[in-house]
C-alpha cells in the first residue's frame, strides 16, 4: 500500500516532489485498475498542487459524492452521465488541503445493497465489502494513499475490515454530508480510508484543520471489549480476531475488560433499520416514484418491504436512539474506548453480497467515532479488522487508541 505518512514526510523533506508522489499513484492505478475495478471514472489530467499538507496525495472519492469535474453516477443507471454543478464540501476540503482528485471510486448502487464488480485485492474471489467498495479496494491494492467513503449501516468500517486497511467513520457531521447522495440524514457519515491509522489521522486532520487528531496516547488506554451479542454471534475467525486484538492491547499495557452494554443500547441496535428505512423513503422518493423500473433491485425490494413504517414508529425509534446516546456517553466514563468487531468475519466469497453490517449499525446510529484496525488474516489471505470506538466528539481519542492497538498488534 502507499502510505500517506511516508509520502508526506518525504515531500516535507524535499526528497519527493508532489508531482512524483502523484505519478506513483497514477502508475499504480494504471497497473492495478484493470484487475480490481475500483474506479467508476478517472480524472483526465490530474495535476499535483504545490502547497497544502496533502500536496501530491491522490485521492479517490466515492461516486455518491458530488464532483464538478467528474461524473457522479451513484452506481446507478438513473444517474448515468450525471455531472453536478459543484464539488461537495468534503471534496473542497481535500482540494483546499492540497490533494488531487484521482477519480471516483465504485459504490454499490446508492450506497445500498446492489453490489459492484470491484474485487477484493487480497483474494479476488471475494467481495471487498460495501458500500464504499472502490475506496477500500483502491487503498488496499496500493493504488492511492487516501479515499473517501460513506457509512449509513456499515459501509466504511466493514469494507475496511475486509480489505485490510485502516478507516475512520468520524463523529456524526465532523465531515459535512452536503453534496453527498442521501440515504438517511440521521445516519449518513463521510469516512476516510488509508493504509494505516496514522495515515487516516493525517488525512482527516488535514481536511478539518484539526491538529489534535494527530496525537498519540500518553499512557496505555483502558478498553472495554463489547461482543454485541444482541447483533448475533460472529464467525469463529471473527471471535478469534477480537480476542487476539484484546490480548495484544493488554500485553502492551492497556487495561482491558469485557463490558456489557445496557439494554437500551440493544434496543437502539434494533431500531436502526426503522430510522434508516423511514428516511430512505423520503431520500429516494424521486428515484423510487419516478424511476421505479430503473431502481437497483435489492434497494427497490427493501423499499417495497418498508413502506408501512409510520411517523409514530419513526418518532419512537428516534426517541430510543436519543436515550441510548445518553446512556452510551455514561459508559465512556468507565473506559477510554470500546473495542468491537468490524464485521462478523472475513469477506464472504463471491461478488453478489457485500457482507453483513450487523456489527456496525449501532455505532452509526450513536454517531460515535469508529476506527478500523486490521487485526488478523484468515484462511484465503482474508483480513479481519476490529473497531476502536470513542465517545461522540472524541475522534482524537479514538484515533490515538487505534494507533496504540495497531502498534500492539504488530509487536
Amino acid at each position: 500500500m502507499i502510505r500517506l505518512s511516508d509520502l508526506q514526510r518525504r515531500i516535507e523533506k524535499g526528497e519527493l516532489s508532489p508531482e512524483a508522489a502523484l505519478a506513483q499513484s497514477l502508475a499504480a492505478i494504471e497497473a492495478q485498475e484493470k484487475t480490481i475495478g475500483a474506479f467508476a471514472s478517472r480524472a483526465e489530467r490530474p495535476r499535483a498542487q504545490a502547497n497544502g499538507p496533502l500536496r501530491g496525495i491522490a485521492v479517490g472519492i466515492k461516486d455518491i459524492i458530488d464532483t464538478a469535474e467528474l461524473p457522479t453516477e451513484m452506481g446507478s443507471a438513473i444517474y448515468r452521465g450525471h455531472r453536478p454543478r459543484a464539488d461537495a464540501p468534503v471534496v473542497m476540503l481535500l482540494k483546499q488541503a492540497g490533494a488531487t482528485i484521482a477519480g471516483k471510486t465504485t459504490t454499490t448502487a446508492f450506497a445500498a445493497n446492489d453490489p459492484t464488480a470491484t474485487l477484493n485485492p487480497h483474494n479476488q474471489a471475494h467481495t471487498p465489502g460495501g458500500s464504499s467498495s472502490g475506496s477500500a479496494a483502491a487503498v488496499a491494492a496500493g493504488m492511492i494513499p487516501l479515499a473517501l467513503g460513506t457509512q449509513t449501516g456499515g459501509s466504511v468500517i466493514r469494507p475496511a475490515s475486509f480489505c485490510g486497511v485502516a478507516a475512520i467513520k468520524p463523529s456524526y457531521r465532523l465531515l459535512p454530508t452536503v453534496g453527498v447522495k442521501c440515504f438517511s440524514w440521521t445516519l449518513d457519515t463521510v469516512g476516510v480510508f488509508a493504509a494505516g491509522v496514522e495515515d487516516v489521522a493525517r488525512g482527516l486532520s488535514a481536511m478539518t484543520n484539526r491538529p489534535e487528531l494527530l496525537a498519540t496516547v500518553s499512557k496505555a488506554p483502558s478498553i472495554g471489549v463489547v461482543t454485541q451479542e444482541f447483533a448475533g454471534n460472529p464467525e469463529k475467525e471473527g471471535a478469534d480476531a477480537l480476542k487476539i486484538a484484546a490480548a495484544a492491547a493488554e500485553k502492551a499495557g492497556a487495561s482491558v475488560r469485557e463490558l456489557k452494554l445496557p439494554a437500551i443500547i440493544a434496543d437502539a441496535w434494533r431500531i436502526h433499520t426503522i430510522v434508516q428505512q423511514f428516511e430512505a423513503h423520503q431520500a429516494f422518493a424521486w428515484e423510487y416514484r419516478e424511476n421505479y423500473d430503473a431502481m437497483p433491485p435489492l434497494l427497490r425490494k427493501r423499499l417495497d418491504e418498508s413502506q408501512d413504517i409510520s411517523p409514530a414508529d419513526y418518532d419512537e425509534a428516534r426517541s430510543v436512539a436519543e436515550k441510548a446516546r445518553v446512556v452510551l456517553a455514561d459508559t465512556f466514563g468507565e473506559v477510554d474506548v470500546l473495542l468491537a468487531l468490524s464485521a462478523p468475519g472475513p469477506a464472504p466469497k463471491g461478488l453478489d453480497w457485500t457482507g453483513d453490517p450487523r456489527f456496525n449499525r449501532l455505532w452509526t446510529l450513536m454517531g460515535t467515532p469508529c476506527v478500523n484496525v486490521p487485526a488478523t488474516v484468515a484462511e484465503g489471505n482474508l483480513p479481519i479488522g476490529v473497531q476502536v470506538i470513542a465517545d461522540y466528539g472524541d475522534d482524537a481519542k479514538a484515533l490515538a487508541a487505534a494507533r496504540f492497538l495497531e502498534a500492539a498488534l504488530r509487536a
Copy 2:
C-alpha cells in the same frame, strides 16, 4: 389570499374540481406576478392531480430547493440555467400528497443577504423580507395557497411577519433538507407558508402524513412572553404588537406571563453566527473558491469577514447550543408555549435590505417549532407578526396554540 382550508373543503364536498382550484391560482399569478415578482420560474403546463389531500393546490417552491422539471438557480448567476437531476424530498412529499408545483419562488442569493426585486404586496415600497421573499409574497398577494421556504437565521418567520401570512419553521429536520442548497447544516430548516395557521397546519400535515398537526387546543394554553432583550430592543410598533397579542390571548382565557430566559440562552443567541459562518465556509466552498468574482457581494463580504473562525471556536459554540437546548426544554415544563416577536418591527422601506433576523436566530439554533401569526398592521399597511414557539418535537402544540392566538386576535 387563497385559503388552503377553503379549497380543501370545497374540493372534498365536490363543489370545486382540483382543475378549477388550480386554475384560480394560475389566473391570480397571471394577474399579480408582473407587479410583485415573486417567481423565479413557472411551470409550463401545470396540471392538477386527481388524488391526495393537496389535489388542486398550487405550490411555490423556493428556488434553492431542487426540482427536476424547473431550473434551480439559487438566486445567483453561478447557477444560471441549473437543472438538478432529481426533485428534493420535500418537493416529492408535496407531489405525493397531490399538490401541483406552480413555480419556483424568488430567493435572496443562496438564501443569504443579497436581496431580490420582489415587492411586498402590502406596500410595494417595502421589502417582503427574506430570504424566502417570493414564497411569502406569493401567498400574501393571493397567488398561491401554499409555499415552501427555508430558514437559517430568520428566513421563514421574518418574511411571513412582513407579508402578513402564517408560516411554520418546524422542528429541526421534521422536513428533510436533502436537495436544498446548504448554508449551515446545523441550522437550515424547511418551512411552510400559507394564508392562516390552519392552512399551514393542513399543508404540513399532508406533507408529513401526521394528522396530529391538525389538532386544536382543548383548553386555553399557558404562554410565556419572551422579549429577547439580549437581541436588543424592538421598534415601538413591534413592542406594541407583542403586547396586543399577549393581551388578546389573555382575554381569550390563556394564562400569560412574562418569562426571563436563563443566561445560557442569551449565550446561544450570541454564538448562532459562529455556527452559521463556520459551516457556511464549507457549504459554499466551491462557490467561494472557484467562483469568487461571481459571488453575491453581501454574502461574499460576510464570508471574507468570517474566515478566522477556528474548529475550536465552532466546537465551543456547538457545546453552548447543546447546553441551551437542554435548559430551554426545562422552560417548557413551566409553560405550554412561548410568545415572541417575529421581527423587530414592520418591513423596512426599500428593497436593498430584507430586515433583521435578530429575533429569529435563537429559535433556529434551538431547533424548536415557530409559527408566525399576523398580529397588527402598522402605518403604511405594514403587517407585524408574533411567533408562537413550542418545545422541540411539539409542532402540533405550536400550531394549536398559534390557532388559538390567531382566533383571539380576530375576536
